[in-house]
Symmetry: C2
Subunit: 190 residues, 2 copies
Amino acid sequence: MGRWEPNARERLERAALELFVERGYDSTTAAEIAERAGLAKSSFFRHFTDKREVLFGGQDVLNRLFADAIAGAPDGATPIQALGAALEAMADVFTADRHAWAHQRQAIVTSHDDLRERELLKLAALSGRMADALRERGVPDPAASLAAELGCLAFRNAYARWADPANEQGFADLARRELDDLRAATATLT
Amino acid sequence: MGRWEPNARERLERAALELFVERGYDSTTAAEIAERAGLAKSSFFRHFTDKREVLFGGQDVLNRLFADAIAGAPDGATPIQALGAALEAMADVFTADRHAWAHQRQAIVTSHDDLRERELLKLAALSGRMADALRERGVPDPAASLAAELGCLAFRNAYARWADPANEQGFADLARRELDDLRAATATLT
């Protein structure tokens, strides 16, 4: 098998999730994931540093999409409006055909302490990227950090609702509602 | 040496920090920390699960103090007022005689990726405890989660300022100002 492996990342992600569901996360090895994906073990480590990373592979893309969407919001947009634009842009990633994958992934992550920890760290990184993007728009601190935490909460809540197996709503609608609820909540804090 | 070891935790914490500063965090072992503290190696593992935990030993106490102070705030207090009371209660922990320790600890934590990650996880746990305590006061979601993130930001910022070697202000004053700044920032988000 040559180094040209079309969609290797996606194939590895899909194979990993199949095996995690069939055999359990703890009993699955990187070699088995590569085998199921029809790739060599070395391919696995070209794309992911370890087994855990298969579940968090899209994080860099997600962070960049968020930062770009915040940067691209209209000049006069408030921090919350810029976050709203960014959350709606995520609907391009969290599409209906990713729904079953997201649900299975979520079930595995929430049932393992080390995966939950990694998820928290990834969310902290996302929040940091959002705060940086807001600062670049001229939002001062601590408003930039606070808005980023609010945006991160909206994202977490919207993602959890979207990944729920019973959910039939699109990500953009869910995210808009979460952000509206959080915006309304800011008025009740003081 | 018997099992009665007065102030063993504090002695281990102090010895660890001395050694981390002298030899570097990576080159210091748990056995060396115990030796410097005048205790057996087994004592170390009675008090801490690993070397990293020596730097995060007070976290459970801190979480409980925060939760108790939020619970104990006056009935009519807004979420921000309850958080303010909790932050001021931390002045009992972050006293002037802990200042040099906090500064050295901060320098070690910020220069090691795995320690920074552990700090983020501890802060996420603190935020979770604060949100629970606010819910128990009847604060609905998502206001409880949002207020907890705001309280956590105020705590992080106040702690960083307090632990700065040049700082001469008390923790309560610093925390009050951070919280005031964040309260004012909420109005600028929308």
